[in-house]
């Protein structure tokens, strides 16, 4: 017996089976080509297993070994993904972070453009007073951008409601009134007139940074104990955050009035949304082309802004994100384990297996002796057939 015999034996079996079922195929009105395909596919799959040299292998298909090669190449792959995954992650995340810094301002002209712009007016006014916990920023001329963007207003109202419940009632009503008044269109050109020299994109970026800074600032004010976990972006944003904090000075005198509170909250919420979108950008940037990534963030950003502190746009986020991503990749990381399990199963079921008949199985104490016949043995990736086999083993 040898491995070489397997090919001819299997070929004989295949031919005989195909011939035997030809009648059945005809009786079922099945095309002869199906039978031929069955034979070819059967042989091809056997060749893929690379268990032996089959007679049909050399003649019709040199490509037959190729699939087997790919199989073999794929086999070690499962161990690779974790390494490569972490690699891409480590290399990608800084990039995407940078993207998130520069891009969202351009890509998200939503509520923040108007909201932040308004604050910018005050920014010029008085930058000196900042980080006063008692102060509540109240953009005086602020008008919710609802007239121009009813959907954004609706979203904001919904999110406020879900986030703050009853407390947000006033601000929601403010949003709605703002929708009615439609003060925005008038405001916007005005503000743009203030900075004629700047290209709009730059403006947006600046506003975006300010928006982030404002969000952080307001978070600090709302939760004084909580500080941004990583000082990096704060340092970057210092200049503009001064500007953003400025509004808190002027309206500070009105801080006690409830509507200002609400607007501050709205403001905070908008900034939070923007920051969350930026976050989303980072996460999405890993997976998606930019165009797609920028289309989606609205939904996810909204969801996130309600869930956790979305205004943290700094190194810490990267850490968190990488952890999250690792979690996400865990499904991939699990795969090698599963594959390992599968391999074990395969060892049991198919990889290392002998299928045969037994003539006799004897046992004396712990010594077993059996006589087997008509067997197929698959071992170490090779297939063997035998007419008779005797085995002795101890338990």
């Amino acid at each position: 017996m040898s491995n070489a015999a397997v090919g001819t034996v299997y070929d004989a079996i295949i031919s005989e089976v195909i011939n035997a079922v030809r009648v059945d195929f005809e009786e079922n009105g099945v095309d002869d080509s199906a039978l031929e395909d069955l034979k070819k596919e059967w042989q091809r799959k056997l060749s893929q297993m690379k268990l032996a040299q089959f007679p049909w292998d050399p003649k019709p298909e040199p490509p037959a070994p190729a699939p087997a090669h790919t199989q073999a190449a794929a086999a070690p792959a499962p161990s690779a993904p974790p390494a490569s995954a972490t690699y891409t992650q480590s290399t990608l995340s800084p990039q995407t972070a940078a993207q998130a810094l520069s891009l969202p301002g351009v890509l998200l002209p939503g509520p923040n453009v108007m909201g932040v712009k308004q604050e910018q007016d005050f920014a010029q006014g008085d930058p000196t007073i900042k980080q006063e916990p008692g102060m509540q920023p109240m953009p005086q001329g602020y008008n919710p951008p609802n007239g121009a963007r009813p959907t954004a207003a609706h979203r904001a109202a919904l999110a406020l409601e879900s986030q703050y419940g009853q407390r947000a009632a006033a601000s929601i009503s403010a949003i709605h009134s703002g929708m009615a008044s439609q003060a925005n269109p008038a405001l916007q050109p005005q503000q743009q007139g203030q900075r004629p020299g700047q290209p709009p994109q730059q403006m947006n970026q600046q506003q975006y940074r300010q928006g982030v800074a404002a969000a952080m600032q307001q978070r600090m004010q709302q939760v004084p104990g909580q500080r941004p976990p990583n000082g990096l972006p704060t340092a970057q944003l210092d200049g503009s955050s001064e500007a953003v904090d400025a509004p808190s000075l002027e309206p500070g005198s009105d801080a006690a009035q409830p509507p200002t509170m609400d607007r501050a909250q709205i403001d905070a919420h908008f900034h939070a949304q923007i920051a969350a979108r930026a976050k989303q950008m980072e996460a999405g940037g890993l997976m998606l082309p930019l165009e797609e990534a920028t289309k989606t963030p609205g939904v996810a950003g909204k969801a996130r802004s309600g869930a956790d502190g979305p205004s943290q746009l700094d190194g810490m986020d990267d850490d968190v994100k990488s952890e999250e991503d690792e979690d996400a990749i865990n499904s991939d990381l699990d795969d090698p384990d599963e594959i390992g399990d599968d391999d074990e199963d395969d060892d049991d079921s198919m990889g290392q297996m002998m299928l045969c008949m037994y003539d006799k199985v004897q046992r004396v104490k712990n010594k077993w002796k059996c006589i087997l016949k008509d067997g197929v043995l698959t071992v170490n990736g090779k297939e063997y057939v035998f007419h008779k086999a005797t085995g002795e083993y101890e338990w």
């Binding site: 017996m1 040898s2 015999a5 034996v9 004989a12 079996i13 295949i14 005989e16 089976v17 035997a20 079922v21 059945d24 195929f25 079922n28 099945v30 095309d31 395909d37 069955l38 596919e41 059967w42 042989q43 799959k45 056997l46 268990l51 060892d347 049991d348 198919m350 290392q352 297996m353 002998m354 299928l355 045969c356 008949m357 037994y358 003539d359 199985v361 077993w368 059996c370 087997l372 016949k373 008509d374 067997g375 197929v376 043995l377 698959t378 071992v379 170490n380 090779k382 297939e383 063997y384 057939v385 035998f386 007419h387 008779k388 086999a389 005797t390 085995g391 002795e392 083993y393 338990w395």
Partner: protein
């Protein structure tokens, strides 16, 4: 040939040849080119043909030794899990070693009864 279903084991379907056939049949069924019933007929033919072919055309002999890890005898089927097996082929004296091998073995009596 008249009634192959009862006289042959379907155990060889779990070997590589049977798995390849089953997969190929599954594809044809998936493409709706054949009935599942027809596929079953093919498999029963396969059961018969492989049993007969192994019986008639294969002359090779084989001995093996190892340590028995698990044994099971259920419904006339012996299942052994043997570790550190050394197979010796009759011709050529080739030896194959394996960490573990599972043996599934049906009684040869049933074939004699047919």
């Amino acid at each position: 040939m008249a009634n192959p279903t009862t006289n042959y084991y379907d155990l060889y379907r779990h070997g590589s040849l049977g798995i390849a056939l089953t997969d190929a049949l599954d594809e044809l069924i998936g493409e709706e080119r054949i009935d599942p019933q027809l596929a079953m007929k093919v498999l029963t033919q396969f059961d018969r043909v492989i049993a007969e072919t192994l019986q008639e055309k294969v002359k090779a002999r084989l001995t093996f030794k190892g340590s028995l890890d698990t044994y099971r005898f259920c419904d006339e089927v012996w299942t052994f899990l043997i570790r550190n097996v050394a197979f010796k082929l009759d011709n050529g004296g080739q030896t194959i070693n394996a960490d573990k091998v599972k043996i599934v073995s049906c009684s040869s009596k049933k074939n004699d009864e047919k």
